[in-house]
């Protein structure tokens, strides 16, 4: 992949007055948004705020939704869902290679599995994996396609707290190595702050806050400077913490 500094000048995703509605209810209300190539962005919002609708629109998965607006996205897009969505009848390596052909596909699949720490589990069945391992396999499946844009819809939402921290490190590491543009949809403010360089808050179908987080990586949950970002984000989400 090309060096990241050049790519930052050209937006990977461009939305212009994007509107989406379900059964007369407006979910996305004229969104304008540029995601620069290679940027790690997090999208926060309450449940029902339209986060997933926005992600699905960018992924091209909104078939039966009415809407208008202009949307450009790269050709190679990968999506990681909240559930690992591994096909139970295919072994792990074959799951990773779903939709990938070519003579060196198997080798790519093996190296992707090694990257996510699943070397040696190629022949395992998905129901033999733990939740964290299954989500690692799903990450490997998205990596194998060498995506220009990685869309992640609450990918760690179903994992336990300890596994989640490990997965945060893994995702950031993978991003640093491959530099796709990332849009991470989450409802976890801390996850957004620790991982992303830019955090968007979606509120009533519009981008309510667009915050650049200018702190070096790896970040720690205990970094006091991150507390300030945290408060601004919580305020934008309409939540106040009681310090009494």
């Amino acid at each position: 992949m090309a060096p990241n500094t050049e790519q930052l000048t050209r937006p990977a995703v461009q939305l212009r007055s994007l509107t989406r509605s379900f059964a007369g209810r407006t979910v996305l209300d004229g969104i304008d948004l540029d995601l620069p190539a290679g940027q790690f962005t997090a999208l926060l919002g309450h449940s029902g705020s339209g986060k997933s609708t926005l992600l699905r629109a960018i992924a091209g998965l909104d078939h039966d939704v009415t809407g208008s607006g202009r949307l450009t996205a790269p050709g190679r897009v990968s999506v990681v869902f909240q559930d690992s969505r591994l096909l139970p009848w295919r072994r792990v390596l074959d799951n990773v290679l779903l939709g990938t052909d070519g003579k060196d596909a198997a080798a790519k699949g093996r190296s992707a599995l090694a990257e996510v720490g699943l070397a040696g589990r190629e022949r395992a069945w998905p129901n033999e994996l733990s939740g964290g391992e299954a989500q690692r396999a799903a990450l490997a499946r998205s990596l194998v396609r060498e995506p220009e844009l990685l869309l992640a819809d609450e990918p760690f939402g179903a994992l336990d707290a300890l596994t989640r921290i490990k997965m945060h490190n893994l995702l950031r590491e993978l991003w640093e190595r491959h530099r796709p543009s990332v849009l991470l949809v989450t409802h976890d403010v801390d996850e957004a702050i620790v991982l992303a360089d830019r955090v968007l808050v979606l509120d009533q179908g519009r981008i309510g806050l667009d915050l650049t987080i200018d702190r070096p990586h790896p970040r720690s949950y205990r970094d006091p400077l991150l507390g300030e970002y945290r408060e601004r984000l919580l305020a934008a989400l309409g939540v106040t913490e009681d310090h009494a």
Binding site: A59, L61, L87, W89, R90, L98, G99
Partner: protein, 291 residues
């Protein structure tokens, strides 16, 4: 007493010697291992135990003279008759005739059931044309079609094969179609995200996802093919196992009837076991209660 045996074979709590187990039993009883709700380890050759007991009862009652040999001959009489019929050459001919009918009917029914289920499950037009029609066909008892089919196809082999094919295709169609339409929409979304072509989607997601349902239909279809065969051969045949039994009824040869039933039973058991074996191989990714 059962708690002692389960606890002493368990490896969960440290030592497996008898002493701590005893301690635990004599304690407050609060840390006892929970009762397992899974049926447990399967017995060796468990499927043969019931039939073996039945056979033993039959043999015992015959030897003790408690059964009327004209109504229920002894097992050894049945075996001797089977031997006679085999060496005389009539039994092999009858078996071959019956097998041929069942095999042709089953093959046609299987092909039709799968093809129709795919056409109906994968396209809305196919569903509109096929699904209602098959359900209409299902509502008519297939054996009720016999008179009509004899008029159309004559009393030869083709009408028998046609009836067996209909008996077979219906359960295969219904179960495969239900499995196809029950494929998780999340997997459809995944296929879109991974950029699968329509054909790759069918081959890699739809067909493997529908296989468990297909096998349910297949087993019902196999049973159905024998059922159809028995009925057809006993009312409209001049050859085959059912004909042999029908003749035996006229001459009061209950041992010959039992030979026929025995052969039908063996056919049913072997074909069902074969389907089960294939199912276990193909669906090895499933971990269910039976494993």
């Amino acid at each position: 007493m059962t708690t002692t045996t389960t606890a002493s074979t368990a490896t969960g709590t440290g030592s497996t010697t008898a002493a701590p187990v005893k301690d635990r039993e004599e304690g407050h009883g609060t840390r006892r291992r929970r009762r397992s709700l899974s049926p447990g380890r399967s017995l060796p050759a468990s499927r043969l135990v019931g039939p073996a007991v039945l056979l033993a009862l039959w043999a015992g009652a015959s030897a003790a003279g408690r059964l009327d040999p004209g109504a229920i001959p002894a097992p050894w009489t049945v075996l001797r008759t089977a031997g006679h019929l085999w060496t005389a050459g009539t039994l092999p001919t009858d078996i071959l005739t019956s097998l041929e009918r069942a095999a042709y009917g089953f093959a046609i029914g299987l092909t039709a059931g799968v093809a129709l289920a795919l056409a109906s499950g994968l396209s809305r037009i196919g569903e509109a044309l096929i699904d209602g029609t098959v359900n209409l066909n299902r509502a008519i008892p297939t054996l009720g079609l016999i008179p009509l089919f004899i008029l159309w196809l004559g009393i030869g082999e083709s009408f028998k094969i046609a009836i067996i094919a209909i008996v077979v295709y219906i359960p295969i169609y219904l179960n495969t179609h239900a499995a196809l339409s029950g494929i998780d929409s999340r997997f459809v979304e995944l296929a879109e995200v991974q950029g699968l072509s329509r054909w790759a989607f069918i081959r890699q997601i739809v067909i493997p996802g529908a296989l468990p349902g297909f096998f349910v239909g297949l087993r019902l279809g196999v049973t159905g093919s024998w059922l159809g065969l028995v009925v057809l051969e006993q009312i409209n045949a001049t050859s085959g196992l059912g004909y042999m039994m029908f003749q035996a009824q006229n001459y009061g040869q209950s041992d010959v009837i039992l030979v026929g039933l025995l052969v039908y039973g063996v056919f049913g058991l072997v074909s069902d076991s074969t389907v089960r074996l294939i199912e276990r191989r193909v669906l090895s990714w499933r971990r269910t209660l039976s494993s």
